[in-house]
Amino acid sequence: MGQFIQQLINGLTLGAVYGLIALGYTMVYGIIGMINFAHGDVYMVSAIMAVTFITLLSALGISSVPLMLVLVLVIVIALTSVYGWTVERTAYRPLRNSTRLAPLISAIGMSIFLQNMVQITQGARVKPVPTLLPGSLELFTANGFTVHLAYTQILIVLVTVALLIGFTALITRTSFGRQQRACEQDRTMTALLGINVDRTISLTFMLGAALAAVAGVMVTVYYGVVDFSIGFVAGIKAFTAAVLGGIGSLPGAMLGGLIIGMIESFWSAYLSPEYKDVATFVILILVLMFRPSGLLGRPEVEKV
């Protein structure tokens, strides 16, 4: 029982992180229909920047943890958005009207590029930060197993929920959201209506990068160790989460992230950890066999 609740908490946290990265995947997919394989590496870049700025700010003598977190979040989000913008501008925009696969390949190239860029400029060593938010709540003890809820876990889940609500509101309520959805439906028509499609797409990339940046900061704070190679695994998991939930759907991405977090968490605690990725992918395949557009994706009716 104790272990079960503990894994629920752990799975929720992990799922929230996957979900945050998956949101960026799904937004980009929604608007230009491409799998942005470099998204995981944008997240990695943000985590590395988080390390730099946490170290810098503590060297400058900022000791208040909330102030530090807010400052780091603001700086990293701003800088990562510029990275997101640049990635779109250089590697994807020139390919916007070509085949579906061209941007995919240039995204793979971008992923390799970013990863090695960070390795060269920041070094290959793993980058630790001291534990910013130490400590945890001891919830209860069952059969000698004390269930802990770490403060960072609370932070991650709260931030994620807030962002999900905020972004859903942004997409459904604001004029940017309307433009964004219009671009998803029909880019040409949207352009004819006088909406700046390029700008909308750029903004979407920046928002996606901003979400990745939040995930990057959270991961840095929670796990305390990052390096230049963390983007790939996270990217694949988040992509899986986005597809599982129905690619293009914001709540779907979050749901997909949570499901994958839970599968991993419970599978490795109760079954064999080495097969947890197999379990994830098998469940993904099964879900897609019965719901070809993911859990919350709109079923695509091909217009004849």
Partner: protein, 365 residues
């Protein structure tokens, strides 16, 4: 067959330029290992050590009157790239190789060096490296079965009353080592035998499994990054965990990465050469150059000392003579006296159990 085959013209053209670029005057020696990719920090250690060694040897007049020129091969710990690097090195007519680092790269690459008759000194610890009857390969570090045995015995005696889990990361190195540790523990059986996937961030599943099973000591086969994460997450979950691992945990990244939990880490490693009186001078110069000579740095340095001494004895770098010199001789290096048995393994591998204290590691009595 209309749209038929193609390939050669550009390859040929580009490769001609590549090959003609390599010079002949000096002795070409090489290192190979993961200069990029996940394990790039090990590659960096090897490179730093090798560069210092080459500089020192050349400053003293080189080998047999010839300067050494260092070639660096990057295999990213990918067996296929390792083969490619090996072929490239053969083509550069290197006379000595220090590498590769990952056992999975060393094994396929060594067959090519063997065919091309190039002697090599490696720090790969997988037993298979020297079990294939190749004459050109010399291991300047112990083997996983040796360090596993020492680690396992240590655990069984020191933690006789505690529950022990054996965990690996499913790499050839990690699994091999973990298996050897489990065997070395003898009659003391681990309560859990688990594997994790390296390269992830979240090991809370493993941690809560350890916690539920009441494990206090984890024997780990794998790399330091995962150990650091597991320790941090164990602390968060309120689990006091001690870890015993192999040589890879000597990497000082673990100090910062484990967030102050590094003192719980023990590992088996060859005797610390930094404390070697003969190494004092070299260690000082590394530190002056802002390089901490831990991990594989001094081994890379030693590998080229080995080459220099063997070549001087043999008075040639021709394979047959050099190989004979390496196989028969005893060499004084910064990592101690090296001599090899018939398989090419160290005669006196000597593993010691260390424990991290602050940002230093120390022999555990």
């Amino acid at each position: 067959m209309k749209t038929a085959m193609k390939k050669l013209l550009p390859v040929a053209a580009s490769l001609v330029t590549l090959i003609s670029a390599s010079a002949f005057a000096d002795y070409e020696v090489a290192i190979a290992g993961p200069m990029t990719g996940e394990y790039a920090s090990a590659g960096e250690q090897i490179r730093k050590g090798a560069e210092m060694a080459i500089a020192d040897i050349n400053a003293k007049g080189g080998v047999l009157g010839q300067k050494l020129k260092l070639e660096i091969g990057d295999d990213a710990c990918d067996p296929k790239q390792a083969v490619s690097v090996a072929n490239a090195m053969v083509n550069k007519h290197i006379v000595f190789m220090h590498g590769h680092w990952c056992s999975s790269s060393t094994i396929p690459a060594s067959e090519i060096y063997n065919e091309a008759q190039i002697p090599m000194a490696t720090v790969s610890t997988n037993p298979k490296v020297t079990e294939r009857g190749l004459k050109n390969i010399f291991r300047i570090m112990g083997r996983d079965d040796q360090q596993g045995e020492i680690g396992g015995k240590f655990l069984a005696s020191k933690f006789a009353n505690k529950k022990i889990a054996v965990v690996d990361d499913k790499s050839a190195y990690g699994k091999g080592l973990a298996d050897e540790i489990a065997e070395g523990m003898g009659s003391k059986k681990p309560v859990l035998r688990e594997s994790i996937t390296a390269g992830e961030k979240d090991y809370s599943g493993l941690v809560s499994k350890l916690k539920a099973a009441g494990v206090e000591v984890m024997a780990y086969g794998g790399y330091h990054t995962e150990v650091a994460l597991i320790l941090r997450q164990a602390q968060q979950a309120g689990l006091k965990l001690q870890v015993l691992g192999g040589d890879t945990l000597s990497n000082n990244e673990i100090v910062g990465a484990s967030g102050g939990n590094a003192d719980a880490v023990m590992f088996t490693f060859a005797p610390d050469s930094r404390k070697n009186p003969e190494a004092a001078d070299v260690v000082k110069r590394f530190r002056d150059a802002k390089v901490e000579p831990d991990g594989y740095v001094l081994y890379a340095y030693a590998a080229f000392q080995l080459f220099q001494q063997a070549a001087t004895q043999a008075k040639t770098v021709k394979y047959t003579d050099l190989q004979k010199a390496l196989a028969g001789g005893t060499f004084n290096t910064v990592v101690g006296k090296l001599s090899f048995d018939a398989k090419g393994d160290l005669k006196s591998p000597g593993f010691v159990v260390y424990q991290w204290k602050g940002n230093q590691y120390d022999v555990l009595k």
